[in-house]
């Protein structure tokens, strides 16, 4: 196997979500970043961007974070889409591959959003079936991310954390824990984000979590004037989410952590600032862990 095609593991450091408007600059000047994560769907019909990304992967460990597998669809997995993803995985040899606990396909149409699932037995069977098929097609483990939610179905059988823990247990997939999404979902359901995160910590085995996500979100009002948090990835990480992040790495350990920014995209240096802040916390906890091991 050529050296360039060997998968480079994602380090337990703070990486940056690479978006197309930054890509040419990053390719030209190669700014500091521990690793990069991209949405593979952006490269499936853009040979020019893909060629550039192939060059970049020689300089940065790369993770693929899909948004289109629709793992919760009763319609099943789009075989052509999985084949396209498999082609990218072969070409880019990413260190991690992930998607979301959500659905996007119904009535033969693709809706570009991460739509929520009811956490029922039927949904669990469908998600497990789809995750297993994708993992078999790719020949590797997927990480599944908890999405931000704005809808809460009546009488769920399991919490989101219990549901995802069960998916991981049945399929062997890993979990990508998005700390901002936990915060947004909890606040939208008028729950205490700290308690919700604590529930995640109880539900998930430590070794199941393979990556953490951080991002900013928007605070808006509902039509009746109530607070609503929108996970738009359009701002710096808020202080409350940083606190949850500290709690999470205290519990799950030092993990690859990604800073995402999608809307109102600022200069790349702003993303580096945010990643640097996450890195400081990772270093702090790594140091504390090492001191504890030597004590």
């Amino acid at each position: 196997m050529p050296q360039s095609m060997i998968s480079r593991p994602i380090p337990a450091r703070a990486g940056i979500g690479l978006r197309l408007p930054h890509q040419s600059m990053v390719a030209a000047s190669r700014p500091a970043a521990a690793w990069l994560e991209v949405h593979p769907e952006n490269y499936m019909a853009d040979e020019s961007a893909l060629a550039e990304l192939e060059q970049l992967r020689a300089h940065y460990p790369l993770s693929l974070h899909a948004v289109g597998l629709s793992l919760g669809s009763t319609a099943g997995i789009n075989v052509e889409h999985v084949a396209r993803l498999a082609t990218l995985v072969r070409r880019l040899a990413p260190g991690l591959v992930s998607d979301h606990l959500s659905w996007s396909v119904a009535n033969d149409h693709y809706l570009p959003d991460l739509l929520p699932l009811p956490y029922t037995d039927e949904a669990l069977r469908i998600v497990c079936r789809n995750v297993s098929r994708v993992q078999e097609a790719l020949g590797r483990q997927l990480l599944i991310e908890n999405p931000s939610t704005y809808l809460c179905y009546a009488a769920p059988a399991l919490s989101e954390a219990e549901f995802l823990a069960e998916v991981a247990a049945r399929t062997g997939c890993g979990v990508l824990l998005d700390i901002n999404n936990i915060y947004v979902s909890a606040r939208n359901q008028r729950r205490d984000p700290g308690e919700v995160l604590s529930g995640w910590c109880q539900a998930l085995d430590r070794q199941v979590v393979g990556e953490l996500h951080l991002a900013g979100h928007a605070l808006v009002a509902t039509t009746s004037g109530e607070e609503l948090r929108i996970d738009d990835h359009g701002d710096r990480v808020c202080d409350e989410v940083w606190s949850l992040y500290e709690y999470a790495i205290g519990h799950f350990g030092v993990l690859p952590t990604l800073l995402e920014w999608d809307t109102r995209l600022p200069e790349f240096s702003v993303l580096q600032d945010e990643a640097w802040r996450a890195q400081q916390l990772l270093d702090e906890f790594a140091g504390a862990g090492a001191r504890a091991a030597h004590a």
């Binding site: 149409h109 009546a154 399929t171 939208n188």
Partner: protein, 282 residues
């Protein structure tokens, strides 16, 4: 990957998941209040279900509109964000995507807006969109520095090698000039363009510096288009001459016109006796 035996026996909701997803998808794309409703009993929690659906509807339609805005920047700039969103959302409802790689979606947008209400003052809007779309497709190609496209044997000694992805775009409106002026925010240039119906042709191709555009005369455009469609040089030449009113009558005049517009262009490399004698840009 092995499936482990279920550890829990969970409750099954009243509505099967397939029906829930089908109805929610329809509700998210509906353009009328009645179509947007789902049974309130499906949802619980602090936020009303209708409020959550509104968030998802905005996300779905906003994302689809954004995809089209990136592919049709001149149309967006010309009509403004709000009107573009109206056209984009209407198109998305009529032709929702079927696959997740959205940059391959939206090819029918130009045709869809041809008679879109409120665009009567811009008769060239659909043609401008068609050109925007052509430009966008080429922008996503890798530049071909090796002239790996169609090869056209002119005679025993000369072969024309075109860049891969080369295309000829023909329109009754001067869409290339319109696009340049619109994207440059050059109102004076825009005002000076004669938008009366006519015949306008350009060659487009992807170079390392980006998408390149070169104006072509009618004969050259038809010759090139026929050649790219697989015609022999002789057939391409005769059909171009026959289909072009006012084309040069003599073969020598035709050859001179093609020499100026095709043989000296940067999208072609001339190979003589199996050797390259001229590279791009020379």
């Amino acid at each position: 990957m092995n499936l482990r035996e279920p550890a829990h026996v969970l409750h099954t909701p009243d509505m099967p998941l397939a029906e829930l997803q089908s109805r929610m998808a329809a509700a998210l794309m509906a353009d009328d209040d009645a179509g947007r409703e789902l049974p309130a009993t499906l949802f619980a929690g602090a936020l009303p279900g209708a409020e959550g659906l509104r968030v998802h509807r905005n996300t779905v339609l906003g994302a689809l509109s954004h995809v089209l805005r990136l592919a049709y920047p001149a149309v967006d700039r010309l009509v403004g964000e709000a009107f573009f969103d109206r056209m984009a959302v209407a198109f998305a409802r009529a032709h929702p995507p079927t696959a997740p790689h959205l940059s391959a979606w939206g090819a029918g947008f130009a045709e869809y807006i041809r008679d879109f209400p409120g665009t009567g003052a811009l008769p060239y809007l659909s043609e401008l969109a068609r050109f925007d779309g052509c430009f966008d497709l080429l922008a996503r190609r890798v530049a071909d520095e090796q002239f790996r496209g169609i090869e056209l044997v002119v005679d025993e000694a000369v072969t024309l090698c075109f860049v891969a992805g080369l295309r000829v775009h023909s329109s009754p409106y001067p869409v290339a000039a319109l696009r340049d002026a619109i994207l440059a925010d050059d109102a004076a240039a825009l005002g000076a363009i004669n938008c009366g119906p006519g015949e306008h042709h350009v060659a487009l191709w992807r170079a390392s510096a980006g998408v390149m555009v070169q104006a072509l005369g009618a004969v050259a455009a038809r010759y090139l288009k026929a050649a790219l469609d697989g015609a022999t040089s002789e057939l391409a030449l005769s059909s171009a001459a026959a289909e072009t009113p006012g084309a040069p009558g003599s073969e020598a005049e035709l050859a001179a016109q093609l020499q100026r517009e095709v043989l000296q262009a940067k999208f072609v490399q001339i190979r003589t006796y199996n050797e390259f004698v001229r590279g791009a840009g020379q």
